[in-house]
Amino acid sequence: MIHITINGKVVQAKDGEMLLTVIRREKIDVPTLCHHEAVEPSGACRLCMVEITKPEWDGWCDYVTSCLYPAADGLIVNTHAKKVNELRSSILDMYLARHPKSPEIRQLAAEYGVLKTQFEEVVDGDNCILCGICTRICDTMGFHAISMVGRGHGKEVAPPLNMAPTACVGCLSCAKNCPTNYIEYNMENGGLTIWKKDFEMVACTECGKTTITKEFAEYLSKNRDINIDYFRKCDECHRKELAGTMGRISNWDREARS
């Protein structure tokens, strides 16, 4: 265990764990848009930046992304230094200019006092903030179905060649974790469409509700060693079944005791 100082308070941390983890454990609010526990940090949004210094640095301080900066003994962290706050509002201002219609961005910007952008608004701006959470999650899952294409201001998230990605299994991990709910999908008539790819859904043998795509079920059963039959029932029916089983067991117990 090591000790670091955050906003004047000495706290314990594990050597090498990321500053953001410690900051959040201390219930200090630092905004992030590209951070997700499930995937490697990337340092893209730059909102989590904090001011750091050490006594031996002679008053010199540095600005680092807390999501990527490993805690080290004696570090002094200021999560809301003047420059840091300025930087955050400036970044949020840039976001607001690019995605003026995104409710998530508008709300976060407002929290930092930016109600209207001072920059030129991008006409036809979409709500993808290029945080890369979706692509990193997809990579982490092992599918690599979507990626960042292009560079600079024209960068976007897309499947290879902008065609229905063969590698996509329709798990929806990207869409469900997108901070701005940008990724569209459609679940209708027992099917699912995402990234222009159509999927067939497995219907629950009990209640008929659809839960998971056939491809995802097959993938899980093959690669994670789960019996394919497990996916033939939806979560709810699994639980009902479990409750029924548990009930029967306790009945037997009672009978046995009496």
């Binding site: 940090p41 909102l47 990527l68 840039m94 960042m148 024209g154």
Partner: protein
């Protein structure tokens, strides 16, 4: 060729020198990319045929040398006759017979092919009498233009691989590192970090593997020093890498070259193959325990791929996007192993430093920036090209002595150094010594050595806009401040150039610049606002003029200028068809008129008027 030990190496050196002595007369044809583009390949063929016709075929290999770039590509194809050092420019195949008969076989000089001094119009015969070359001191470019680039024997003939032999037999890795530290050599790729110290940190990291990478990405538009070195002296680069590998204990090395440099790739491939075949690369080099291999990694040509973390990802086959690194690549680099990344020019200096010693090297240049630096001098100067000069030389010496002064003797306005994220330096600082720290101090930087000279016809706001546009396009787009911030800075500059700027925009740009610099992930974003900040610092008046007076004193920003026809118009009617927008009317021998509502300020009329009758204001 077999080079199993130092004896073999010295034997080849001796043989090469003997042949060279036997044939002191030589025809050197520059075969760098620039001269080839101007037709050097045909010259080589003609010389070869010509020598054969003159029954000199058996020795033609020793006589004809296909050399690397002299840095004077503008005047190519270049041909040099040795030993007289006669320097011919813009040579065409039809000149070759004459050159062989008169200058090669006899001692005659062909006047029209000589270099014309742009300052006074005089003809200069000898290579080293030309001021462009005279004021240079060549260490990194030592072999360029002197030896056949693709001939390993020639490299060995000019002390090639002697430094390798020296370190392998006479120095420990630590001694090599200390020597390089003592030489004061700082990285030529932009950062200016001590090469020796970088090696030391890397060597001291315990790991299974260490890597050496040569950075030949060279993404700066207009810069071509690394390309020329890789093309013209590939063995020099390999030897530098071998010495670095020995020092840090690396067994594998990579050279990262962009795809747009096919000739560099070909020459490096040939050099690597020759080394592998002869035993200078592979297992037990020169009979020692040292083993090393080099592979070429080809880049897709994005500017940001020159950045160390992006480059290493690209070498490893991933997307070349920078990654945030609070752990440096000397500690955790390629495949997460300790890696030394050095620029081409940094590495090519190493063999000479080892051969001649750290004290010799550090006696050149300034105390904190030792040695020489290669610059690519372009823009509004009379002589443009690649130059190598001792550090500490003044900007004035470079621009006026080597560059021959400003074209048409126009007033000097600024010099932009450091590549796209460098800065502009005004006239008042022409006597600034050129070294890492002085350039940084005035808000510019050394960068990779770009140097663009600008005259009074250059609009400084337009220059800032141009570089920002480049950076916006080259930003990888990963992090927000760089992707969105540079974009907004460029938008603001566009607005000012269009005459719609407001005084508050200046402060807005200053604040945004600061946040982009603090907030960005990699060097591209961190230094991206530089062109803007440095011009704002030294040329604020011009910004204010654009904003308040709606004037562009250089006559560049279309929205801020007008084209008018003066009374001295002869009515020659030349400008009427030149205007693509039918804006000019007028009768023969009468003063013409430009309809301002139709004029797009393209400048076509200005270009055709022979009577200086068109006023741009």
């Amino acid at each position: 060729m077999n080079i199993k030990n130092v004896k073999d190496l010295n034997k080849i050196k001796k043989e090469t020198l003997a042949i060279s002595k036997k044939h002191p007369k030589k025809v050197l044809v520059c075969c760098g990319t620039g001269c080839i583009a101007n037709g050097a390949t045909k010259i080589v063929e003609s010389v070869r045929d010509g020598l054969a016709k003159r029954k000199l075929k058996d020795v033609s290999i020793e006589i004809l040398k296909e050399t690397g770039c002299h840095g004077f590509c503008e005047l190519g194809p270049l041909v040099i006759i040795e030993p007289q050092e006669i320097f011919y420019t813009k040579v065409k195949p039809k000149h070759v017979d004459d050159i062989l008969d008169k200058s090669f076989l006899e001692n005659e000089i062909i006047e029209p092919l000589l270099f014309t001094n742009p300052v006074d119009g005089s003809k200069i015969t000898k290579y080293n009498d030309i001021s462009f070359f005279k004021h240079q001191q060549r260490i990194a470019l030592r072999n360029l233009g002197k030896i056949s680039a693709h001939d390993m024997k020639e490299y060995i003939g000019v002390d090639g691989y002697q430094a390798l032999a020296k370190v392998l037999f006479k120095m420990t890795p630590d001694e090599v590192i200390e020597e390089v530290i003592k030489s004061g050599l700082r990285g030529r790729g932009g950062g200016g970090f001590s090469a020796g110290k970088k090696w030391k940190i890397c060597k001291n990291i315990q790991a299974d593997k260490h890597y050496v990478i040569c950075n030949g990405d060279e993404g700066d538009p207009g810069a071509f020093m690394d390309r020329s070195i890789m093309e013209g002296d590939p063995h020099g680069v390999l030897e530098g890498m071998m010495i670095a590998a020995y020092a840090i204990g690396a067994k594998e090395g990579y050279i990262y070259v962009r795809d747009e440099y096919p000739l560099a790739v070909t020459h490096l491939e040939k050099a690597i193959l020759d080394c592998e075949r002869s035993g200078l690369l592979g297992e037990n080099i020169l009979g020692t325990d040292f083993s090393f291999t080099i592979k070429i990694a080809r880049g897709a040509g994005a500017f940001v791929c020159g950045e160390s973390s992006a480059l290493m990802k690209s070498v490893a086959g991933e997307v070349g996007e920078p990654r945030a690194k609070y752990v440096r690549s000397v500690v955790k680099g390629l495949y997460d192993e300790p890696t030394v990344l050095n620029n081409v020019e940094t590495l090519v200096n190493i063999p000479t430093i080892i051969r001649k010693g750290a004290d010799w090297y550090s006696s050149i240049g300034t105390k904190k920036s030792t040695g020489t630096k290669v610059f690519s001098l372009v823009g509004k100067v009379r002589n443009t090209g690649l130059i190598e000069v001792p550090m500490g030389i003044t900007l004035r010496e470079i621009i006026y002595d080597i560059g021959g002064g400003i074209l048409e003797d126009r007033p000097f306005k600024a010099v932009q150094t450091g590549g796209p994220s460098g800065g502009c330096i005004p006239e008042s600082m022409l006597d600034l010594p050129v070294d890492f720290d002085s350039l940084t101090e005035v808000g510019s930087m050394m960068g990779s050595g770009g140097m663009i000279v600008m005259d009074d016809k250059t609009c400084i706001v337009d220059v800032a806009k141009y570089f920002l546009e480049f950076l916006v396009e080259e930003s990888c787009g990963k992090c927000t401040p760089c992707r969105e911030g540079l974009y907004q800075l460029h938008k603001l500059l566009e607005k000012i150039c269009a005459g719609k700027g407001e005084m508050s925009d200046i402060e807005k740009m200053e604040r945004l610049s600061e946040n982009v610099m603090i907030g960005s992930l990699c060097g591209l974003g961190k230094s991206g606002p530089n062109p803007l900040m440095s011009t704002l610092k030294h040329f604020k008046d011009e910004y204010i003029e654009h904003i308040k007076d709606k004037k562009c004193r250089a006559g560049v920003c279309p929205e801020l200028i007008t084209y008018e026809i003066l009374d001295n118009c002869t009515g020659c009617m030349a400008c009427i068809p030149a205007c693509g927008y039918d804006a000019i009317t007028g009768k023969k021998k009468e003063v013409h008129i430009i309809a301002q509502d139709k004029c797009t300020k393209c400048g076509a009329c200005y270009a055709v008027c022979n009577f200086d009758s068109i006023l741009v204001s």
